[in-house]
Every structure is written in C-alpha cells, then in structure tokens.
C-alpha cells in the first residue's frame, strides 16, 4: 500500500481515501483519512486551505492536567485523563455525533442531557436469562412480519428449548 503523506504520520484516523495522481506518465499514490488537509488542498486548491485554517484558528486549547490539545483530539489521538472530558466536552459530543457513536435510540437532547444511561459505578445489575427470550421473541416477530416462516420455525424451536431448560432448572 502507498505511504501516507509525511505530514500525516501522527494522524490516527482510519485510512479512507486512496488518491492517485498521474503527471507526465508518472503515477503517485497516497492514502489518507477522509478529513486530511492534504486531500483538501489537492481537491480544492490552496485557497480552500486558507479558509479552512481560518476556521480552525483559536484551537490551541489544551487540557491543563495532561496537556492533550484539541488539535490532537481532532486528529484522533487518545485522551490523556478524565479532565479532558470536562475540557473538551462540547467538541467530543460533536465528534461522536458526527461519527454516529451515540445511539440514535437516545431521545433526550444530546447536546445538554447526560449521554450515558447505563450502569453507574458500584451499581449491581444482574441480567436475567429471560433477556434471551426477549431478543428471540423480537427476532421472531420480525421474521413473521417478513413472512419468513422457515426462519420463524427455527426461532420458535430455540424459544421452546430455552423455556424447557428454565422449567427443568426450576424443578431442580
């Protein structure tokens, strides 16, 4: 695979674009992330880059506890400490929303409300084996809507098997 541009060696974002350029019968191939400034420059020219630089002015913000900068986070680097979440909270939310990393099932205002709805520290929640039945029944409903009776029969067998096992366990 072709190399990333030299300036991009620090970038931790996934490779998304393979850019091939043929000039005077000489072919160069470069791989880069989707938001690579090199890609922007090649596609839109130098002026776009200037605009984009203006847009990013004032991003010298850094975490006072660990020193991780906002630019580093935008490049996909790891956070350095728990404080980073307070310092860069807004940017992180925007990035996570952009990448679909926050469930679409969360209906509250994602910009202001808590994003976490799972367990809290120390909270003990055992998951009941019947959760399997819920999942299987939901899958069964969907297959029946699709009128896929062959799949439905197999799912019914699985549900019956789990119920029988649960009954046997109770008897014991």
């Amino acid at each position: 695979m072709a190399d990333r541009p030299l300036d991009c060696t620090e970038c931790k974002r996934p490779l998304a674009v393979c850019y091939t350029e043929i000039v005077d019968n000489k072919m160069t191939r470069t791989v880069m992330c989707a938001s690579c400034p090199h890609l922007e420059k090649r596609l839109y020219g130098i002026f776009h880059k200037v605009d984009s630089q203006k847009e990013h002015m004032g991003t010298a913000l850094a975490c006072g506890n660990c020193g991780v900068s906002l630019d580093a986070i935008r490049m996909g680097h790891l956070l350095g400490c728990g404080e980073c979440y307070s310092v860069f909270g807004e940017t992180l939310t925007d990035e996570l929303l952009k990448e679909n990393r926050i469930s679409r099932h969360l209906t509250s205002n994602k910009k202001t409300q808590p994003l976490h709805i799972g367990r809290a520290p120390g909270e003990v929640t055992e998951i009941s084996p019947t959760l399997k039945l819920i999942a299987l029944n939901e899958a069964l409903d969907e297959t029946l809507i699709r009128e896929d009776y062959e799949q439905a029969a197999l799912l019914r067998d699985q549900i019956r098997e789990i119920k029988e096992k649960a009954d046997n366990d109770q008897e014991k």
Binding site: L78, G118, G122
Partner: protein, 355 residues
Amino acid sequence: MTKKNESDPLYQLKNPWEKQTHNVWLASTLSLSRNLSKFKFPNKLDKDKEQQIITLLYDSLKESPEINHPLLYHSEKMTPLQKEFLLEHFMILDNFYQAHGGEGFVFDDSGEFLAVFNLQDHIQLNMIDMQQDIEKTWNRLARIETYMGRSNDFAYHPRFGFLTSNPRQAGTGLSIALYLHIPAIIQTGELAELLEREKDEEVEAIGLQGKTTEMIGDILVAHNTCTLGLTEEYILTAMRMWATRAVVTEINIRKKIQEGDNEQIKNRVTRALGLLTHAYQLEVIEALNSLSLVKLGLELGWIRAPMGMNMNQIFFNCRRAHLMNLIEDNVEVPELPKRRAEYLKGIAQQLTLTI
C-alpha cells in the same frame, strides 16, 4: 520469534474450545474498559506510576470469587510469542505488540478471563464465551468489575459515563464481538443481502482482520459500534438478535444447498479438501478458507470425520502462536507454512469424502 517454554502456565491455558458446540456461532468476546480516577490515562502516565497501578489493580482483583488462581505477567518480561498466544486465545481484535513495558496481563484457570492493565486504558477486562451465553458471561464480567470497584475509584462523568482514553468507548465501556461462521451465506453470495437486511448503525460486521471486504475463513465478526447512549442490557439484546438472525439465515441456506445439490459448492468443498490433503505449504488465510469449506462439507454430510474431531478447535489452532505451541519441537517462523500444511494434512487424511 522467541522459543516457547514448555512449563509456562500461559501455554497450559485451559482450552475453552472443549465446551464449544455450536456450528455457526463459534464464540463471543466481551470487553469492559475502565480507568482509575486518580491517575492520568496510560498514554500520559508517568513511568513510575505504571508499576504502582499494576500492583493496586492486581491486589483488588486476585481475591475475586469469580476468578480462580490468577497469574500476573508483566509485559516487559513477556516474549512476542506469549503476547500473540494470549491475543489469539482470547480472540482480541486490538493488538498487544505496543505493550513493551509497564503493562500487565492477568488470566486464571478457566482460560476464559483476561485482564489487561495499562494498555489503552488502566483496566480492560475480557471474557471469552463459547456457549452462546453472552448474558451469563456479562454477569460474570460485571461481578468482577463491581468487586474491583469496591477498592478502586473508577473515572466517571455523569454526562459521559465511564471514561476511556478513546472517547468512542466511553459510557458503558462495553464492547462485544460475536464470531459467526457463515460459509453458506458467503459462498452463495448472500452476504450483501444479509448485511443490507440486518443493517444497524449500532452493529458493524467485519472480517477477522478488521476489514469489511474480506471474510477470512468465512467468519463474520459482528461488534457493537456504540457504547454511549445505550444500556448494557440493550447492547446485549441487540447483539443477540443480530446473531440469532444470522444463524437462522445460515442454517436455512445450508439446508437449501443440501436439498438443491449445489454442484458449485460441492466443487469448492472437494477442492478445499484436496488442498488440505496435498499442500506442501499453507499460509494461515489459505488454511482458514479451506478449513471453512471442509467444515461446511462436514455439516452437509459430504465429508465424514472420525468421532470426537473438533473442527472448530482445529480452525483456531492454525493461527501462528497456537500452531507454534502445538508443534513439539521448536520451529522458526519461516518454517510455519510447511508445518501448518503437515498439521492439516494429518487431519485431512482422517476425513472421508462421501460424494
């Protein structure tokens, strides 16, 4: 690569494949990430704090009633082969090669539990399940985490939940990967349809090497992409539903292949058996792809195997570190394709073609 040490307990890890029974849903891995609130995350941690954290975490873990006879390994004292063996055994998709010093690995007698300290996060608790019981496995994992939480204060934010160095894993910190062997779906070209039908923004399907385009050994790895904005129960239910529908589809297509006497698939299966029986050298991808077809042939009754032969175990024994551990004498990496072919030839010669 450094030679193995026969007496090393790491290579004696109990084989969880013994319990494996399912012919489509091969395994599931659950991983829970946590950080300690008092310390910076591992990538910004001072060297002198690393050992302190390992000691602190190991002390808070070793007495947990959920684990038996834990053993702690320090990364700086481990060989690359040991790290690779752990990676393969616990089917971890990240890699441990960046663990050069300051990281700790704890596993127990069960061969199903691995704690990794100071890699990307201070704590990564991993469980592997071979019985399609992700709910039970989650309960065990949560009990271990709760036990450790009694003596440690985890980094937590009311808005972002449990804090991780990669913000894409914050919230529940729970990552689940399901390993599904779906040769019938892939060989009949039905994969795109399955992926389209089961399209879910919160579940991604990839191959063993993390690419969406290459399904090595016809194994599809379904994993959750969201850890934030969901409860743990929801993630488990969504993953189970995804796996259930894929399993049912695979079984249906297998039936259709059998009933329809599909000559193209028969040809592929018999050629794969031929390759395993006669190849002089086999690279891992080629071996896994051939084994997958032979496994399909066994399921469809086109190939007969001796009683007790565990094809799933053979499947995963082909990988580099496990194969090096299996081979009695010490073997160098360049020799491995030849030794892999010899190992698989021994297995293939026990199989009988019935068509």
